[in-house]
């Protein structure tokens, strides 16, 4: 059989090429362009090779130390967020009602934080946690605990973590709830007949059935927390000191605060690469799980 040659298809693909080129490839290339140059202002650029990258990846330099500090803080933040929000989300999903008017009530209640714009979330918590006029900060201080998120880095971290948990746990809960709803009643009935304990039901029925949505929840929450910018920027502005300066905040400081375009470009490329690698790992794991399942069902 000979293949039919039809070049009309190119006309359908071309617009996509154009859009992708202008929206992604060209801007990215300007970043690549910046990352290998240095400037002393007046729009004069000098070739700098891979020096920014060398600096960036060497913790002993000023740039490298700053980058690894921010990277470490971001990873720590993501790790804390995942260890709190995933189990908490599962717990919330498990304790949600399975039918009746309360289901709708719970769903609306849980969707509320998800609907609030991110900088509004930051503002809400910024005011809420203030020790002079904020309800939370005032109450905590009057309970005799010295709490000040603008002064103590631990307090700042706790505030940001609590804020993120408040904002995003419902997403995990809603995803898990969807996973739980897809389990047929017969599984629970069979487990009762088999005398399974509550924990055994969770381990042998609910957790395996939630595995896929949980993977998605972990991916979403990891990426979101790894790229978090708005809320901590509004709440703490990265402070006190550099205590809550995550990668995204540091990048903005570097690029738009100091106008070190070369360093910032190198940093954003590495940042981007890290995210791509993690996405790829998740994608591979997820498709493997799918393939595994298909093979089993076949």
């Amino acid at each position: 059989m000979t293949k039919t040659l039809n070049h009309k298809a190119w006309f359908l693909v071309l617009p996509v090429f154009a859009v992708v080129a202008f929206s992604a490839v060209l801007p990215l290339m300007t970043v690549v362009n910046y990352s290998v140059q240095d400037t002393f202002g007046n729009n004069q650029f000098f070739w700098n090779g891979v020096a920014w990258f060398q600096d960036l990846l060497d913790p002993s330099t000023e740039l490298g130390g700053r980058f690894f500090g921010a990277l470490w803080r971001t990873l720590l933040f993501s790790a804390i967020i995942l260890t709190i929000e995933i189990p908490l989300g599962i717990l919330v999903a498990l304790s949600m009602p399975r039918e009746g008017w309360r289901v709708a009530f719970c769903l609306v209640l849980m969707a509320l934080p998800l609907l609030i714009p991110w900088n509004v979330v930051g503002t809400i918590w910024q005011v809420f946690a203030r020790s002079d006029i904020g309800l939370l900060g005032w109450v905590v201080n009057h309970m005799g605990i010295d709490y000040n998120y603008t002064g103590h880095s631990l307090d700042a971290w706790i505030t940001i973590i609590v804020m993120d948990v408040w904002h995003w746990t419902s997403l995990v809960a809603l995803l898990c709830y969807a996973g739980l709803k897809s389990i047929p009643d017969a599984y629970y009935q069979a487990a009762r007949i088999d005398g399974a304990s509550r924990w055994a039901v969770f381990r042998t029925i609910q957790l395996p059935k939630m595995r896929r949505v949980l993977l998605i929840a972990v991916l979403l929450r990891f990426m979101d927390s790894f790229m978090i910018y708005t809320e901590p920027f509004v709440l703490t502005g990265g402070g006190p000191g550099n205590a809550t300066t995550f990668l995204s905040i540091d990048l903005v400081k570097l690029a738009l605060g100091q106008f070190d375009l070369g360093k910032a470009a190198a940093m954003s490329l590495v940042y981007n690469l890290i995210i791509l690698v993690i996405c790829w790992i998740f994608y591979t794991v997820m498709t493997n799980v799918d393939a595994d399942r298909e093979r089993r069902e076949a």
Binding site: Q189, R192, I193
Partner: protein
């Protein structure tokens, strides 16, 4: 091992049932004898599964009691009753191997593992699961999974009864027979009470020693397959069992004679005078009506003849009613005027759906 008695059992899913229309399960008194193979037969939505779930304790009845031997278990939780249940769709624990699946009910009941291992091997041998014992349960076919579900019930030595809720629905047709004969073998080998819910009469009649027919939330007849065929206690049983089902014709009674339209049919029993508002019907299975080309039978009009494999079934119209009748081997078609011969011993009379016993005639009119 136990006899299971249902004592004035009724169930309504609504919280405050008023009349009988609110009950998914109308009052039932029934005893399942130890070691019996029962089928619970009825169309979808007739309350079979509700009844099954009440026995296993998944549903708490609105009224009445359930007794295992003489012990009242109505308020006992499922896991405290010695009941196993196999569901319509196979339930296996995906993350476990077949062996772990079979051991699961014992492990949950804290049976020492030295006792679990031989028991699991034994049950696996019984169900031909030995070759797949160490495979993941989720990799197997539907019939294998159903065997695992069954195995999880059998593995408990103390199990009083195994309940099957349409267990063959998702099984390939050629495996259905095989699995059903496995069930029968196990029933013979282990002397366990089995209650098998189905809407498929072939399944019910081939599996069970006793068939309980349910209709609209109530038990309409309990009996052996022969009894259901020969003496349906209710017109529903008549047309639900048999293929094609029983012919049910409205009629008028006069002592030993039933009038279908204006045509008289002589009966073998006498029936008392009935209140005129009661709906009287005559029932006869197609097997006991035959079409004749001519003769002094009931006049009818032949519509068509269906060849259903082993036999031929004539579809006829008589006094405006459709009937099925058997076709004698030497029957040849000549026009559509036929005459119907009914076996008088096989005619049953129903009032408002229920069988009227009638009085045996001892010669002459009364």
């Amino acid at each position: 091992m136990a006899r299971i008695s249902l004592d004035h059992l009724a169930h309504a899913y609504k919280p405050d049932p008023q009349g009988p229309q609110d009950y998914a399960l109308k009052e039932i008194d029934h005893v399942w004898e130890q070691g019996g193979a029962y089928a619970l037969l009825g169309p979808s939505g007739c309350g079979k599964t509700t009844l099954l779930n009440i026995i296993s304790g998944l549903v708490h009845p609105t009224r009445g009691r359930i007794l295992f031997d003489d012990r009242d278990v109505t308020d006992l939780r499922t896991e405290e009753r010695n009941i196993a249940q196999v569901f319509q769709f196979p339930v296996v624990y995906d993350t476990m191997t077949v062996r772990e699946n079979l051991a699961f009910p014992l492990k949950n009941r804290n049976v020492p593992s030295s006792k679990i291992a031989p028991r699991v091997e034994e049950i696996a041998r019984l169900l031909d699961l030995t070759p797949v014992l160490d495979r993941k349960a989720s990799n197997l076919t539907a019939d294998m999974k159903q065997k695992i579900s069954l195995g999880r019930g059998l593995v408990r030595a103390d199990v009083a009864a195994i309940l099957f809720d349409e267990p063959l629905t998702v099984i390939d047709p050629h495996l259905k027979w095989q699995l059903r004969s496995t069930l029968k073998e196990i029933h013979r080998a282990l002397d366990i009470t089995m209650i098998y819910v189905t809407h498929d009469q072939t399944e019910a009649l081939t599996f069970a020693d006793k068939v309980v027919v349910m209709h609209d939330g109530a038990v309409v007849q309990t009996g052996t397959p022969e009894e259901l065929f020969e003496r349906p206690a209710h017109t529903f049983v008549g047309h639900f069992i048999g293929s094609p089902g029983m012919n049910i014709l409205p009629c008028r009674l006069d002592g030993m004679t039933a009038y279908i339209g204006d045509d008289p049919v002589i009966l073998q029993r006498t029936y008392p005078e009935l209140a005129s508002q009661r709906q009287v019907e005559l029932g006869i299975r197609p097997e006991f009506v035959s079409v004749q080309r001519t003769g002094n039978g009931l006049p009818a009009r032949l519509k068509r003849i269906d060849d259903i494999g082993r036999t031929r079934i004539a579809r006829v119209e008589m006094a405006g009613r459709q009937l099925a009748a058997s076709v004698p081997e030497n029957f040849s078609l000549d026009g559509d005027e036929v005459s119907l011969i009914m076996d008088p011993h096989r005619i049953h009379i129903y009032a408002d759906g229920h069988l009227l016993p009638g009085e045996p005639t001892t010669g002459g009119h009364q």
